[in-house]
């Protein structure tokens, strides 16, 4: 799996403010192709904001973000070019409630990629099968469980055949018994070699799936480590404190 550019995502000297609040402070991060990076940290640490900058859902004020060799800039078409390579899964699913699961998945291929309806439906069914809910294709999001909705959301993002997938706390809004099915879907996706950036509190997932774990606090990257190092031998005091709170 080789993309354009040396790394899938290249972030250099990223700074972002919400009004006068400095939410991201001098963030540097490189993500290789097919790498799976889990970003964790206490709430308000800027981890969601960081991945939302990668597909320009949030504008940043300073620094460089290069996605699959395409720099995110103000130039016309750059944002669209980056978004074409990046799929996103949200905490609240954000499915379109007035469309069926299938229609949720065919909309972007049909209107962004101008794919004929028949082909788009075939493609969508293929991905709904991959997340194991082809039988729910004609149901509306309101008729599905939280876990099923999140899996439709993953299928929806995949129909655009992105090179990178961003997950913004994909299991935080789910009931405990639904978390497993979504995590399993994500593990299967990781096995296909997809580049993944995952913001999550699921430390089990981080331990088994991640190549690297990024720990953030107060808008800074405090520590980047392999799961082994991160859980057994964390270097910074803030990481230790965070782990002691989250792993009881």
């Amino acid at each position: 799996m080789s993309g354009n550019g040396a790394n899938a995502v290249e972030i250099q000297g990223l700074n972002k403010w919400f009004k006068s609040f400095h939410v991201l402070k001098d963030v540097n991060l490189s993500v290789a192709h097919s790498e799976r990076v889990v970003i964790c940290g206490p709430s308000g640490s800027g981890k969601s904001t960081l991945i939302r900058c990668i597909n320009a859902l949030e504008p940043h004020q300073e620094g460089k973000i290069i996605v699959e060799g395409v720099p995110l800039s103000e130039e016309v078409g750059q944002v669209e070019a980056v978004r074409a390579n990046v799929g996103m899964v949200f905490q609240q699913f954000n499915l379109f409630p007035h469309l069926t699961a299938l229609e949720n998945c065919t909309l972007a291929p049909m209107w962004v990629k101008k794919m004929p309806k028949k082909d788009a439906e075939k493609l969508a069914m293929q991905y709904l099968e991959r997340v194991h809910i082809p039988e729910q294709a004609n149901k509306y999001p309101g008729q599905l469980s939280g876990g099923q909705q999140q899996r439709v959301a993953i299928a929806r993002a995949l129909t655009m055949e992105p090179r990178i997938m961003l997950f913004d706390e994909p299991t935080s809004a789910l009931d405990p018994e639904m978390i497993k099915e979504v995590l399993e879907t994500m593990v299967e996706l990781a096995e296909t070699g997809m580049t993944m950036l995952v913001v999550t509190h699921e430390m089990g997932f981080a331990r088994t799936v991640a190549n690297r774990i990024v720990f953030m606090d107060f808008g800074e990257i405090v520590e980047v480590a392999t799961p082994d190092e991160f859980f057994t031998n964390p270097k910074s005091e803030r990481t230790k404190e965070f782990l002691s709170q989250i792993l009881r």
Binding site: V86, P97, W111, V112
Partner: protein, 361 residues
């Protein structure tokens, strides 16, 4: 597996029903009695006046003078043509019949459930129908020209209302989107437009449109056209605020999901945001339509003989001078308006159910 059934519901008898629903508490009993008294006090005399004591037969006012405590229906029956066509040339009224018939057929086709080819009929109603209706009503292409001054009654009311409704929804949507735009010029212009029209009474707008504008601009505009434009602009400002309310209720996540998949501004509006926003605003949109339909009666003040105007003309006709002519005319016009508004309201309620059915858990 044995399943417990829910306990059987025993239907109450009439006496129990009365006790449970109408006389359950002393306060409820008082309310029931007051309501009964009001019905007796208002509805009974009205029915007496409108039906029992009313004059039905006859062709002149004499029939009504004989029954002086009841409604004068011969006045309506004799003038029903005027209520529909105004002073439209008698020989050319078939043209109006076609337009009204096509409008009614088209609306029925679109509103009745399970009719085929709704999309096709809808497209026809939005494209071909206005053109054909315009040519038929106005004339041209070999048809005799009928000046709009001779139009009246139901045609005027419907032409103003339908044009207003058809123009105000798309204009209102564009204004609402404009008001939420990030482009300062678009946003500023939208706000200025909306707040200007919402700040002036419709009646002054109509006066301005038909009297002042030709004076200032030195061009003579067709009075009806001026009124149509005024009504459309006026109601689109109100519609914009209704639609904006719906837009604001859509969670930010919907915009983000659309953007993250690469949908552009218009694509996300058309496929994601507006379908949801319009459904949310449907009750208020129909409320606006109903208000607009009733507001068309204001054109009678600027010299059009719409339904209300025709009733007023009739009441001042010496040949029909009876104590009940005016009242009968107004009751009739009121009933026609009520029937139109109530149908709209019921259809909207039905539509809300249809639109909500797919998404419910």
């Amino acid at each position: 597996m044995s399943q417990r059934r829910p306990p059987r519901v025993v239907m109450p008898g009439p006496v129990e029903w009365l006790r449970e629903n109408l006389f359950s508490t002393p306060f409820n009993s008082v309310l029931t009695l007051v309501a009964l008294f009001l019905i007796y006090w208002i509805v009974v005399p009205f029915v007496q006046w409108a039906f029992v004591d009313a004059a039905w037969a006859g062709t002149t006012r004499d029939a009504c003078l004989e029954r002086e405590n009841g409604a004068c229906w011969p006045f309506i029956i004799q003038r029903v043509d005027q209520f529909i066509y105004g002073f439209y040339d008698v020989a050319e009224r078939w043209r109006v019949d076609i337009v009204l018939g096509a409008l009614a057929a088209g609306l029925l086709w679109l509103t009745l459930p399970r009719m085929p080819a709704k999309r096709g009929i809808g497209t026809l109603m939005l494209t071909l129908f206005p053109v054909v209706a315009f040519v038929l009503l106005v004339g041209g292409f070999g048809l005799e020209r009928i000046p709009t001054e001779r139009w009246g009654g139901l045609i005027i009311t419907l032409v103003v209302a339908v044009t207003g409704i058809a123009a105000s929804l798309p204009l209102g949507i564009l204004l609402a989107l404009g008001r939420r735009s990030e482009l300062p010029v678009v946003k500023g212009l939208s706000i200025a437009f909306i707040e200007f029209w919402r700040g002036v009474p419709l009646i002054t707008v109509l006066f301005m449109a038909v009297n002042m504008l030709p004076l200032f601009m030195g061009v003579s505009v067709n009075k009806l056209l001026a009124a149509l434009i005024a009504v459309a602009l006026f109601s689109s400002a109100y519609m914009a605020e209704v639609v904006r309310g719906g837009l604001q209720a859509i969670p930010k996540g919907q915009y983000e999901a659309a953007a993250a998949m690469g949908l552009g501004y218009w694509q996300s509006m058309i496929f994601i945001i507006l379908p949801q926003a319009l459904r949310l605003s449907l009750p208020n949109i129909v409320g606006n339509f109903i208000g607009l339909l009733k507001d068309t009666s204001l054109v009678s003040i600027i010299g059009f003989f719409d339904l209300l105007g025709i009733a007023q003309v009739g009441t001042s006709d010496a040949n029909w001078a009876t104590p009940n002519t005016a009242l009968t005319g107004y009751v009739f016009v009121g009933a026609v308006y009520w029937a139109m508004c109530f149908s709209m309201s019921r259809y909207a309620k039905h539509l809300e159910g249809v639109l909500a059915s797919g998404e419910k858990r």
